[in-house]
């Protein structure tokens, strides 16, 4: 597709369950970012990939959160032992080069609800 896609668009799970959120970046974009947007707030940075490696994971809130990008394209954000406080919209973005100078293109997000 032409833009960043994310699946699923909505995910409802129960407290304590494991979830995976997927991001398909724009073809050819080497940089990929995950953000979390809680209700009524701006997006907060979670992790940034350059190629296959996580260049900056300083935004991950704790070790229940993990992300991979094994082939340098699709990325999966994994959340273990979900908590109600994890409920948010998870946004993925990609860019062709480092963001300090270039636009990050955002996907529509995955709305995660933890019951």
């Amino acid at each position: 597709g032409a833009g960043v896609s994310q699946t699923p668009s909505n995910k409802v799970t129960e407290k304590g369950k494991y979830v995976e959120l997927r991001c398909d970046p724009i073809s050819g974009h080497t940089a990929l970012y995950w953000y979390r947007q809680s209700l009524g707030q701006g997006p907060e940075f979670l992790i940034y990939f350059q190629g296959t490696g996580a260049a900056d994971d300083s935004g991950l809130p704790n070790d229940r959160f993990f992300a991979v990008r094994p082939e340098g394209s699709v990325s999966t954000l994994k959340i273990q032992r979900t908590e109600r406080g994890d409920s948010a919209v998870y946004l993925c973005a990609s860019s062709s080069t480092r963001a300090g100078g270039h636009e990050q293109f955002f996907g529509p997000g995955t709305r995660l609800t933890v019951l």
Binding site: G3, V4, A31, Y33, Y35, G40, Q41, G42, P43, E44, F45, Y48, Q50, A55, D56, S58, G59, L91, A93, R98, A99, G100, G101, E103, Q104, F105, F106, G107, P108, G109
Partner: protein
């Protein structure tokens, strides 16, 4: 640490009126500054960006923003608002050499007919 403040949580303007959305940032050097718009159910769309040079930048949909270093501000403006501009607007900063964007809390714009 870098931060972005958008002092106005909600703004309501009449269609055809002018608009200014405020953004103040905190950063130790010259930042890269962005304005994004988010409509319900849509992803964030870039309106405009500032990296260097002319401090008045033009964006899409008739928006412009002015970088004022002395005031640490990057306010977004539009001379005449259209009903379709109703959305949430986010200011963001991304440092030179860095990659993560730091966003403000957003301003929700409502447009009265």
């Amino acid at each position: 640490a870098q931060s972005v403040t958008q002092p106005d949580i909600h703004i309501t303007v009449s269609e055809g009126a002018s608009l200014e959305l405020r953004c103040n940032y905190s950063y130790g050097a010259t930042p890269y500054l962005f304005w994004y718009v988010q409509s319900p159910g849509q992803g964030l769309q870039l309106l405009l960006k500032y990296f260097s040079g002319d401090t008045l930048v033009q964006g899409i949909k008739g928006f412009e923003a002015e970088f004022k270093r002395s005031q640490s501000s990057f306010n977004l403006r539009k001379p005449s608002v259209h009903w379709s501009d109703a959305a949430e607007y986010f200011c963001a900063v991304g440092p030179l050499g860095g990659n993560m964007l730091t966003f403000g809390g957003g301003t929700r714009l409502m447009v009265k007919p």
